[in-house]
């Protein structure tokens, strides 16, 4: 689901693959829903990497900061 760029883990499906982002969150034991509801971008199922407190948006996708903490 992610590829490594320098020391970061980038979601390989970009910003608009809502199904893959939900699937990735389902596989992740570190998922935490962002506490600011305004920053949740998925209108259907909320448990999506796109809504996770540990995502950092970048120009083409997002970086998982939690993976960066433990797997770099």
């Amino acid at each position: 689901m992610f590829y490594k760029r320098d020391n970061s883990f980038v979601f390989k499906y970009g910003k608009k693959n809502y199904d893959k982002a939900i699937e990735a969150a389902g596989l992740c034991k570190n998922f935490v829903l962002d506490k600011d509801e305004d920053e949740l971008i998925t209108s259907t199922k909320k448990n999506s990497c796109y809504n996770c407190l540990f995502r950092r948006w970048c120009s083409e996708s997002f970086i998982c900061m939690k993976k960066g903490m433990y797997e770099s």
Partner: protein
């Protein structure tokens, strides 16, 4: 000097995994002003450039709202915001605050150009200070590197632009549908538009799934809708991400 319109924006108050967000801190500030000083306007969220060279936490967005203050209450509010942001922001964050009277802005177009630049280019603190000084805006680093001044100034600039950002918060009406005219009478939105820009028919009904969320267009709080089998349906979040 009586009361005049004041822009207030903050940025860069959190860190990875922090318990609160810049939007929520801004909402606290807005509520404090609303309760003690002046009627306020809704907060707009302005998306800035996403670029690895910028040390943002997760979104690189800035929050802005307006209120009405005089010189004395401006100082009181400024002191409150600086201490509140210092207290509530994350230990490693680099918050910035921007405030100013609309009437003091000398060159509105130059300020707006700065805001639009912040959506496309990596900007420096030096250019932020230069722009703020030229437009007579108060700009302050609250702690650490204070990089949030860049986004805070951009927040004021984009709010002044009037065609950028989503409105913070969700509006729940507790009903499944409402006529466009009835919604406008509530004052919650100033206009209802179809997604391609046409003004919505006031006699049409909007089908509400869960909540309503506005965007900021032409200096107005606007609900964007699309045709839906003889009704209107608000655009879902995924379709508002460009605002």
């Amino acid at each position: 000097m009586g009361k005049n319109k004041v822009y207030i924006a903050i940025d860069d108050t959190d860190e990875v995994g922090y318990y609160t967000s810049t939007g929520e801190i801004c909402e606290d500030i807005r509520e404090h002003i609303d309760k003690n000083y002046s009627r306020t306007t809704p907060i707009t969220r302005h998306q800035l450039l996403l670029d690895d060279r910028i040390p943002y936490t997760s979104h690189n967005s800035s929050m802005c709202f307006t209120c009405e203050l005089d010189l004395e209450t401006f100082e009181q509010v400024k002191n409150f915001i600086l201490s509140y942001v210092a207290y509530k922001s994350a230990h490693s964050s680099s918050p910035g605050v921007c405030m100013g009277f609309e009437r003091d802005i000398c060159d509105r177009d130059a300020l707006i150009a700065y805001g639009l630049d912040a959506k496309k280019r990596v900007l420096t603190k030096e250019s932020a200070y230069e722009t703020a000084a030229a437009q007579k805006l108060f700009l302050k680093e609250v702690k650490n590197k204070g990089n949030g001044i860049i986004g805070a100034l951009a927040g004021v600039a984009l709010r002044a632009y009037g065609n950028d950002g989503r409105i913070k918060g969700k509006i729940k009406l507790g009903k499944k549908s409402i006529a466009v005219s009835e919604l406008l009478e509530t004052g919650l939105f100033e206009e209802v538009r179809l997604k391609h820009g046409k003004t919505a028919d006031k006699n049409h009904h909007i089908v509400i799934d869960e909540y309503l969320k506005g965007v900021y267009i032409d200096h107005k709080s606007v609900l964007l809708v699309e045709e839906y089998g003889g009704f209107y349906k608000p655009l879902v979040k995924e379709n508002l991400l460009d605002y």
